[in-house]
Amino acid sequence: MPRVTITVDGARYSDDVPARTLLVHYLRDQIGKVGTVVGCDTGNCGACTVLLTDPDGVPRAVKSCSVLAVQADGTQVSTVESLGGDHPMQRAFHEQHALQCGFCTPGMMMAAVDLLRDNPDPSDTDIREGLEGNLCRCTGYQNIVRAVRAAAAEMRSAPAAGSETDAEAAAVANGVPTDASADAEVKV
């Protein structure tokens, strides 16, 4: 079995995994990150969206059901847990009533965080287009768009806002490239 070392939400994990293990199943079943959920088997719903660093170390939204755990070896992954609990995106989703059943919410927020990294001041159309890979069946998306707009405004005015308990993971969530050597120091 291949061995993988993946930094998830600031903590480093090392495991032998069957090659066929999907990243989302690794996150959920092996290391207990059950905030990331599976909503389909074709890569359409986006409920499993997490941030995964690309080869240049930039965190990018990906569907963790369409990535093998072995492909994530050596990367940093940020799940909804990396947002802490008081991230501007979480606050905005709460305040704008952007969730009902909440199943799509972690993936939706991670996709939105990713969008704002590329486009800190998106129009409503930009937001709708940016979230086209995430399905929600409850909200009709309207309040999600509102929330992302509100979070964007807050993050523009206070770019450092985010988790206080896990600065590294928050940095990843906010789109700041990080180097792996920093992980050990911020492990919580």
Partner: protein
């Protein structure tokens, strides 16, 4: 003493942020799939690839011997213990009710029907071992077409029944005494056929179940269900396990939309499997399994005849439906189209009405409740055909509606379908909606585009709807031969420190009951919003309940809550009087406390009383030392939300693409507990209504394979596919319950579909188009234009 939150203001009507959100926003949610129990095993299900076949061999021996596999079995192995799946709604005396076993035993009747099962240490091993099961299928003729299925020579879905007709149910207003004879002819007679395509509810959380038999005779079932109480009752009724030994927990449930108003083969199979192996067994379906196995919705043919006079007065409506049941009957399958029977008259007053529905079996996944259940279909039909009447008369479609709808001063109004609408104000909602939309300006723009023969035409669609919700008065359900009542239960537990636990029989899965119920109880008891905890979804704490569907939770469960609170106040009043050394009749309850009339500074709160009953040192004689209470509410009638939805679409006459330019809705859902939640329900409902109009359809090929078996093919719209929804309200309180509330969960879905399709057809009227079948895909719009092209 613990601290108590600041004294409440009035909670009802406040846009309280939701209590539920914290765990959902941080990923600390208890989805069934997130639960792991000691010793838990995993189940995988082998499903039929044939729409209709005889099982001549099911051999699980190789699978049984595979690594990590604990056991494997087929239907025949558990024929005695697996129980059956019940249909709770035998709508007629002579309804055909096929036996519905969780695992097929001798014959499969739709693609996806469970055939055999593997129980293994881990999910991957269970799925791997499915490939080792050998099944021989002897294909049988497949029945798919609704009308062909009713012909004498049709092959049969259930050969032992001798027919594919499940039932024919008739409502004749004249016979029922609520209407007159159907006109034999009329000045105007319009006949139309509409087809409600098959939809898939598609909550984002797939269904999931864990059965844990390891509790000393007690069996605990965790299920992603809307109906934990019904599930418990039916498990007991059909498996032989005593009801008191079954505990059902619906943990956090990720949406339902009727799709989880079900008792499922998978729940029953997991129940049998866990009992067989004596260990917890988990099953979570993949999305592609959901698509073929979980029930679908809609799927019926509507033939309508509308009679009217030249002055625009509707004189009668005749409705004939053929409804697809699928291969088996789910819990309320036969009744779903009949929920529409009372709604085809919509908001209109006309004297004659007849409704007939024939249910038909086919070799497809069963249908059952999907958001709105019967009422979207009815609303679609009446709102489409009223537009046709307007065209016939050369009138603006809104004018025809005005000439026929019930005026606000005419409530309460006895409808031709035999219901009494208690309240409503269609004029107010419509005026507001037209003003927000800019109806007249858009009509002007439409005229200009028509004159200019623009490639992109503008259409305005109207849907003035009402619906019946708050399922349901038990007596009416009984008269309709439904197998259960429609009451709801609530109980209040006042803790010694004055905090309150509310137990509800409703079972939320995204609706925000924890928040809204807290608001209601806060006002009723004068306890702070944050000092209230709402408990639900576990039959051990919430012993009695009929769960959440049919926009019933607030209109029925919310009223039960008010009644339970009244009992708490009644008890507390006696205790407060004792402490204040006055007569209970000297006290009034206001601002969260009992005050002595005339001496308002002498007062006691519920918290004061709860501490008094806890110590019980000094209670009046004959008073039980508790404030706790329980109440059950059985509504005497339905509630009738209504509203006006307006949709402006731009239709590209070259490609057939439709873009919604502006969507405005004004809904009247009575008194609003939490405007934020109500708005959210409307948004989501409208989105699903638009999805039916434009995007979604479950499609079978001629062999009965579901061609839209994943989210890659069943096109659930994303944010980029849907418009901004401009929503507003009018507020006409219901007179049928003390809260004045109606329902809101289904309103958007019921209203939106005809608004969108009417808008598309309106855009294309000048070219001669009078219908575009749903979903109105670019190709279908293009085809509709092509068919009428000169």
């Amino acid at each position: 003493m613990t601290t108590t939150a600041a004294a409440p203001t009035v909670e009802i009507g406040r846009s309280r942020l939701r209590k539920e959100d914290a765990r959902l926003l941080t990923g600390r949610t208890r989805w069934t799939e997130n639960i792991t129990l000691p010793g838990m095993l995993h189940m995988a299900i082998l499903r039929s690839p044939h729409a209709h076949a005889r099982l001549t061999k099911v051999d699980v021996s190789a699978a049984k011997n595979a690594d990590n596999v604990v056991t494997a079995f087929a239907g025949a192995d558990v024929a005695e213990t697996q129980g059956v799946l019940a249909c709770a709604w035998p709508v007629t005396e002579d309804i055909v009710m096929p036996t519905y076993t969780p695992l097929a035993i001798t014959e499969v009747r739709h693609v996806g029907e469970p055939v055999a099962v593997v129980i293994a240490r881990d999910r991957a091993s269970a799925v791997d071992a499915l490939e080792l099961i050998e099944v021989d299928y002897e294909p049988l003729p497949v029945v798919l077409d609704l009308e062909a299925a009713l012909l004498e020579e049709s092959p049969l879905v259930h050969s032992d029944k001798g027919t594919n007709r499940c039932y024919t149910w008739v409502f004749d207003a004249q016979a029922a005494g609520s209407g007159a004879a159907m006109p034999e002819t009329g000045e105007i007679m319009i006949t139309r056929r509409y087809v409600q395509q098959r939809l898939i509810p598609a909550s984002m959380e797939p269904r999931s179940v864990i059965v844990d038999p390891s509790g000393g005779g007690e069996i605990t079932v965790y299920s992603a269900t809307q109906i934990p109480h019904v599930l418990r009752f039916l498990l007991a009724a059909t498996t032989g396990t005593p009801e008191h030994k079954i505990r059902v927990i619906a943990p956090d449930v990720g949406g339902g939309f009727g799709g989880k108003l079900a008792v499922t083969p998978e729940e029953w199979i997991a129940f049998a499997a866990a009992n067989l192996v004596g260990r917890p067994v988990k099953y979570t379906e993949s999305r592609s399994e959901t698509m073929v196995s979980a029930h679908h919705g809609r799927d019926l043919i509507q033939d309508l005849t509308l009679y009217a006079n030249r002055d625009g007065t509707v004189t009668g409506l005749d409705v004939k439906l053929i409804a697809n049941m699928g291969a088996y009957l789910g819990i309320v399958t036969p009744g779903v189209p009949l929920l529409g029977a009372f709604m085809y008259n919509g908001i209109y007053k006309f004297p004659a009405y007849r409704f007939e529905c024939t249910g038909v079996f086919t070799n497809t996944t069963k249908t059952d409740a999907y958001r709105g259940a019967g009422r979207p279909e009815a609303t679609y039909a009446i709102e489409r055909i009223i537009d046709e009447l307007a065209v016939e008369l050369g009138l603006d479609p809104m004018e025809v509606r005005r000439r026929n709808w019930i005026k606000h001063e005419e409530f309460p109004f006895d409808t031709v379908a035999g219901l009494t609408y208690d309240s409503g104000n269609y004029e107010a909602a419509t005026d507001k909606a037209m003003q927000i939309l800019g109806y007249d300006e858009l009509r002007n723009e439409q005229a200009t585009r028509r004159v200019n023969q623009d490639k992109v035409q503008l259409g305005i669609g109207i849907s003035t709807y009402t619906e019946m919700c708050g399922l349901a008065p038990s007596r009416i359900l009984g008269a309709l031969r439904y197998g259960a009542g429609g009451w709801e239960s609530a109980s209040i537990r006042v803790l010694p420190t004055g905090k309150v636990e509310v137990v509800t029989g409703t079972s939320p899965h995204g609706q925000g009951h924890e928040t809204a119920w807290s608001q209601i109880v806060a006002d009723q008891l004068g306890v702070a919003f944050d000092d209230i905890e709402v408990l639900h979804g576990d039959t051990r704490t919430s012993v009695k309940g009929l769960d959440t569907y049919g926009s019933r939770s607030l209109a029925v469960g919310g009223v039960a809550l008010v009644m339970a609170c009244a009992k708490v106040r009644e008890k507390a009043q006696k205790i407060a009087a004792h402490m204040l050394e006055c007569s209970p009749t000297d006290l009034e309850f206001s601002d969260g406390a009992f005050h002595v009339m005339g001496t308002p500074e002498a007062s006691k709160t519920i918290a004061d009383c709860s501490l008094a009953v806890f110590t019980a040192h000094n209670l009046p004689d004959g008073i039980e030392p508790t404030l706790d209470s329980e109440a059950t509410f059985d509504p005497s009638t339905f509630s009738f939300p209504h509203g006006t939805h307006l949709c402006a679409t731009e239709v590209d006459t070259e490609t057939g693409e439709v873009a919604i330019r502006r969507y405005v809705c004004v809904d009247d859902v009575g008194t609003v507990i939490n405007p934020l939640i109500v708005e959210g329900q409307v948004h989501g409902g409208v989105a699903q209504g638009i999805a039916q109009a434009l995007f979604e359809e479950a499609v079978y090929d001629e062999e009965g394979n579901l061609l839209t078996g994943s989210f890659a093919d069943y096109t659930v719209p994303s944010a980029f596919d849907l418009p901004e929804i401009i929503s507003d309200r009018t507020e006409t309180p219901a007179t049928s319950n003390p809260l004045g509330v109606k329902g809101v969960g289904e309103a958007g879905t019921i209203a939106a579909t005809p608004a969108v399709v009417n808008a598309i057809v309106d855009a294309l009227r000048p070219m001669g188009v009078r219908d575009v079948p749903m979903p109105c895909t670019p190709e279908r719009v293009w085809r509709a234009l092509k068919e009428v092209a000169p």
